[in-house]
């Protein structure tokens, strides 16, 4: 089952790559929707019947992997629906060749395939391969608009993330040295077996390995100071791609850190790893707060907000206890809300043709559905009740104070308030205020449609649902995931 869910999207993607002609439009879009829906069904199915292990235990869906896979699959489905509407709306544009659409859909599906491999792989080497592959197949997505700026963003993404992931490879080699028994017998890099034999690991190499893994995968995850590619890539990519990068791929890189973290806590190196994660996490939140307060571009603002939330995830896991559970819950909430906001940003961008915050006003009047959801998204992302983000941020904060991390807790509260001020003062004027009529002809081709409103609406409802009522199945899965990370 796992193998099928990895191979099928890849095959469909490759097939689509060769269907470049206009008359295949329908087939391409149908395949994209069908595969992403099937994938979501597979994920839902796995909640009840865990699929069997494959490749001698290299591919297993444990609670942690299943959690991240479900988030990715859900976000991908929303993005696929949105993308179909996006392709449709581009049809009227002059000079837009049809060739990129086939390549774009192909890369989307290959990204889904690599994400599935990432979430289900227990072997550290296979995980590395899938993460690098996901970078390579998502880089062309950023360049979809064929502009100078998007090319620059794609180049930065490709170079910086490749270098980061290369350093993570060195980290993996260090782990291999840590695990190699003195006699030279074979050993395995499967997380479960490393955890079992954790006490015979060489601690110096293990620590060095974890450090390189955090730096390497942290680059892809967007932890400060390794985040420099992130605002560029997220602001220049088409909004559907930004949603996918932010909602799914950042989490994937975090999963890589967590896999090695599992080994480290089993080897009693938890204190070292926790302090590293707390440091990176808090620093990310602080720097993101500074850039959010002075931001003039709404897509970049959302990108920095992703840096902030990745910081919260790292901080939460680094504090342990209840905060680990909070971090897992926050990963779900952040993905839902951020994907929703990026998709809405796509609607705003297509209507106003500007990313400047100051040039967008009166959204509630010009496009009521997007405007209303935008305001809801603002409250959701800044952690207001009754949204799920409130619940998860609250649990992280409670974990901080219960666990004796007073300084971290107070700093987190302070930065969250600063970020809230920054986001409200930017987003509220965009939705309220005078109705600006965009210049004649500039917005003629964009109308709200089912494709562009339904995905963010559903994501918003899910975020609301988690805030009001946490489904028992999800709660169990989150607890199981948190327990595997030494939390509760």
């Amino acid at each position: 089952m796992i193998a099928v869910s990895i191979i099928l999207p890849a095959l469909a993607g490759l097939l689509i790559f060769f269907l470049k002609k206009d008359r295949f439009d329908f087939i391409r879009r149908f395949l994209l929707l069908a595969i992403s829906a099937l994938h979501l069904v597979f994920c839902a199915f796995s909640w009840f019947f865990l699929p069997e292990a494959q490749l001698t235990g290299w591919l297993v869906l444990d609670p942690l992997g299943l959690l991240f896979l479900t988030i990715s699959s859900l976000i991908f489905f929303a993005v696929a629906i949105y993308a179909v509407g996006y392709f449709h709306s581009l049809k009227g544009l002059q000079g837009f060749m049809k060739i990129p659409e086939a390549a774009f859909t192909c890369c989307l599906l290959l990204t889904l395939s690599s994400m599935t491999l990432m979430c289900s792989s227990q072997h550290l080497g296979i995980f590395w391969i899938s993460l690098e592959a996901s970078t390579l197949v998502s880089a062309p997505l950023i360049y979809f608009r064929r502009s100078n700026r998007s090319l620059e963003a794609a180049w930065k993404y490709l170079m910086i993330c490749s270098i980061g992931i290369a350093l993570a490879l060195l980290g993996n080699f260090f782990l291999a040295v840590a695990a190699s028994p003195p006699g030279g017998e074979p050993f395995s890099l499967v997380v479960g077996e490393l955890v079992k034999g954790a006490h015979s690991l060489n601690t110096i190499w293990l620590r060095a390995g974890f450090l390189f893994i955090v730096v390497g995968y942290g680059t892809k995850m967007g932890l400060v100071p390794l985040h420099t590619w992130l605002p560029d890539a997220h602001s220049e990519a088409p909004c559907a791609v930004s949603a996918l990068l932010s909602g799914a791929l950042l989490n994937g890189a975090f999963l890589g850190i967590l896999r090695v973290y599992q080994v480290c806590i089993a080897a009693d190196q938890g204190a070292f790893c926790d302090s590293l994660l707390r440091g990176f996490g808090l620093f990310s939140i602080a720097i993101a707060a500074v850039f959010i307060l002075s931001q003039k571009d709404f897509k970049r603002m959302l990108a920095y907000s992703s840096v902030e939330h990745m910081g919260i995830l790292a901080l939460g896991v680094g504090m342990g206890g209840a905060a680990t559970f909070g971090a897992m819950l926050h990963a779900v909430n952040h993905s839902l809300v951020k994907a929703m906001l990026f998709l809405l940003a796509g609607n705003v961008l297509d209507f106003y043709h500007t990313k400047k915050i100051s040039e967008v006003t009166g959204m509630l009047r010009t496009q009521p559905a997007t405007g209303a959801l935008w305001v809801a998204g603002l409250f959701a992302i800044s952690g207001f009740p009754p949204f799920g983000t409130f619940l998860s941020e609250f649990v992280v904060l409670k974990g901080a104070f219960d666990g004796g991390f007073l300084l971290e807790g107070v700093a987190l509260l302070a930065f969250l308030s600063l970020i809230f001020i920054g986001m409200v003062s930017a987003f509220l004027p965009m939705s309220q205020g005078k109705k600006i009529v965009p210049e004649e002809g500039r917005h003629s081709y964009w109308k709200p449609s089912f494709w562009s409103i339904a995905p963010p609406l559903v994501l918003c409802c899910l975020a609301l649902l988690i805030g009001c009522f946490l489904p028992p199945a999800l709660q169990q899965l989150l607890h199981a995931a948190a327990r595997s990370l030494g939390g509760s």
């Binding site: 072997h123 080497g125 296979i126 590395w128 391969i129 690098e132 592959a133 390579l136 880089a139 062309p140 360049y143 100078n148 700026r149 090319l151 620059e152 963003a153 794609a154 180049w155 930065k156 490709l158 170079m159 490749s162 270098i163 290369a166 490879l169 060195l170 080699f173 291999a176 040295v177 190699s180 003195p182 006699g183 030279g184 074979p186 050993f187 890099l189 060489n202 110096i204 190499w205 060095a208 605002p231 560029d232 602001s235 220049e236 850039f291």
Partner: protein, 215 residues
């Protein structure tokens, strides 16, 4: 176990790193990367000379094929199609670069003594040479302007990591090694396409002028 052949290969790797530091032509840098591919394949064989099997042979051959033939071919083709100028355009001149290269050597030797391999897996020079090649790669990455030289520096960094990896070679499954190589190939392929597009769009591949996006 300080086999003279292994020592020779490692010293040759250091020398190619230095050649890379002092090269002023892009074409020459590509030849250096190709030469390192040969040295790496030879290193794989030399380290496992007593236990040659299909795994080792396949990996040495795949590494040779990808690093010595495919990479230079993709990169040379990208340069030709994009009509790239051959000059390297250093931010830090060649003289100072070589000086820094000389200073990095004792640093990596010192770091090598701090991180001893638990059992003497192979030559005591392996860790220092791997670190040295990585450090040179990182240094070139920040001190050369063009996008193509960034790709070459990335490959040098990757070679350094591979030197470290071949010491562990027999212990890592073949599938993982091949997957890693395939990813690297994909990276160079995508970067090659990007290089072409950068040159078409900006009419140069000077990455220091890629500066629309900054705070």
């Amino acid at each position: 176990m300080n086999d003279p052949w292994i020592q020779t290969l490692l010293v040759l790797l250091i020398l190619t790193d230095l050649v890379m530091l002092g090269s002023s032509r892009v074409g020459k840098c590509i030849r250096v990367i190709a030469a390192q591919g040969v040295l790496l394949a030879a290193l794989i064989l030399a380290l496992n000379i007593n236990s040659l099997n299909g795994h080792v042979l396949l990996l040495a051959f795949a590494s040779l094929f990808v690093k010595t033939f495919l990479f230079p071919w993709i990169l040379v083709r990208a340069i030709r199609r994009a009509d790239v100028d051959q000059a390297v355009d250093p931010l830090i001149g060649f003289g100072p670069s070589l000086l820094i290269g000389a200073l990095l050597m004792p640093l990596s030797l010192w770091l090598g003594t701090r991180l001893p391999l638990p059992d003497a897996l192979a030559s005591s020079l392996i860790v220092p040479v791997a670190l040295y090649t990585m450090l040179i790669g990182l240094f070139l990455l920040v001190s050369r302007k063009k996008a193509i030289t960034q790709v070459l520096s990335y490959l040098l960094l990757e070679n350094g990591i591979t030197i470290f990896g071949v010491a562990l070679l027999v212990k890592v499954p073949l599938l993982v090694e091949l997957g890693t190589l395939l990813d690297l190939l994909g990276a160079v392929f995508v970067m090659g396409i990007a290089l072409f597009n950068i040159n078409q769009t900006f009419e140069h591949i000077d990455s220091s002028k890629l500066s629309f996006l900054k705070e």
